[in-house]
């Protein structure tokens, strides 16, 4: 439905069109969104735990985690609040390398990413492996600021950005696809920006 009198349009240059999912606009800044106050997580207190259900498989301290193989990824990211940001440069540890260090293959098809502030979000295991996702430690070559989820955040760039849990401190394999924080509050279980899977009522 055309809106009477709306012309303006910040239509992005056509050579970038194909990189902007439906309903998104191109953002130059880096907006911050969160459900509560920004937790200040000190690296001394930071740890990352891999779990199968309630059972811990392996736990890394900040130093141990930083000693894992590091990879770089530059990706477009898409926030459900409709901004898309091109070419965001991250460095961190691929989920593949975390699993390899723990000596396991994904034991189930589903995971919940867990955060220091109690936040959680579900991501299918297949969306985390084969180079698709990492626990990011650096943004643009510098430590990730607290507002953006530092010292470490999950990065799953092909899904809406709420799946890239800030202040991440663990990954839990679950038997079923269990909704996380926003998924319990009306957001989509999967969150593919190309299919505009924003809210639970979206197919």
């Amino acid at each position: 439905m055309v809106t009477r009198g709306f012309f303006s349009g910040r239509r992005p240059p056509s050579d970038t069109d194909a990189r902007i999912p439906p309903g998104q606009y191109l953002e130059q800044g880096f907006p911050v969104l969160s459900a509560g106050p920004t937790p200040r997580v000190r690296t001394e207190d930071w740890s990352f735990t891999l779990k199968h259900g309630p059972k811990p498989i392996k736990k890394w301290s900040w130093a141990e985690f930083n000693a894992l193989p590091q990879s770089k990824m530059t990706r477009d990211i898409h926030c459900v609040t409709a901004w898309t940001k091109f070419n965001t440069p991250w460095q961190g540890v691929l989920i593949d390398d975390i699993l390899a260090d723990a000596g396991i293959e994904p034991p189930t098809a589903f995971t919940l990413a867990l955060s220091f502030d109690g936040y959680s979000t579900n991501v299918p295991a297949k969306d985390l492996v084969t180079g698709k996702a990492m626990v990011a430690l650096l943004y643009d070559g510098k430590p990730i600021t607290a507002d953006h989820g530092g010292p470490a955040r999950l990065l799953v760039p092909h899904l809406y950005f709420w799946k890239s849990a800030k202040w991440v401190n663990g990954l839990q394999f679950t038997e079923r696809d269990e909704p996380g924080f926003w998924e319990l509050h009306g957001y989509h279980m999967y969150g593919d920006p190309w299919r505009e899977q924003r809210y639970s009522s979206d197919s």
């Binding site: 439905m1 055309v2 809106t3 009477r4 009198g5 709306f6 012309f7 303006s8 349009g9 910040r10 239509r11 309903g23 606009y25 800044g29 907006p31 911050v32 969104l33 969160s34 459900a35 509560g36 106050p37 920004t38 937790p39 609040t81 409709a82 502030d117 109690g118 507002d147 924080f181 926003w182 319990l184 509050h185 009306g186 809210y199 009522s201 979206d202 197919s203």
Partner: protein
Amino acid sequence: MSAEPQPQPQSPWQTATISRIEKRTPRVTSFWFQPSRPFTHLAGQHVDVRLTAPDGYQARRSYSIASAPEAGAGIELAIERLDDGEVSPFFHDVAAVGDEIELRGPLGGHFIWEASDGGPVLLVGGGSGVVPLMAMVRHRGSQKSAAPIALVFSARVWDEVVFRDELIRLDDRRDGFDLVLTLTREQARRPADYSRRVDAKMMAQAMERLPKAPRLAYVCGSNAFVSAAAEALIDAGVPAGIIRTERYGV
């Protein structure tokens, strides 16, 4: 093959007709929308609005619902004009009564308060961030809830205090709703108000106006405001776990 008619999946988008427009402050105007598929919202929820240009280009933004769930007669959105923005100037300069706009909602299940949630509640809003908090304050009134609520509302100047007369009227009832205004670029006009940015001391004093420590705190506004106000609450001793935030962006 079955000849049964299959229910058509409904698009989450619907058209809503603008039924009333009222300027609230020099920069904020309220728009009332009559959805073609009426819905009931919860205080604190928002809708997404979508504008479509003739060439198919679309812009969408979120706006909190200012009206109480009980208000009927459509939903009120209070939109602040950002001069270099895309969607808010459209509403201020172009939109007129009778226009049809696409929207979807109600959305959001976290930043909400229902009278049954009880109190005490501490609300902290900056600029247009007062909008979802206004829905909560109005909901308290229509439900005749006795939950103690204190609203700390930061605006630049007196004339930019959105919903000012209504808020002061509610405050004057002394029925458990307490309004704290703070002006960042002008002298306070009421004796107990402030003229500075929100800080931990102001939060601590706002809490003293409640009969006991808040059970819930809600902070809404620009990203910078929400960060500062949430820090101030934590410094004033509010547990991080009871603070809910909604950020309007840059």
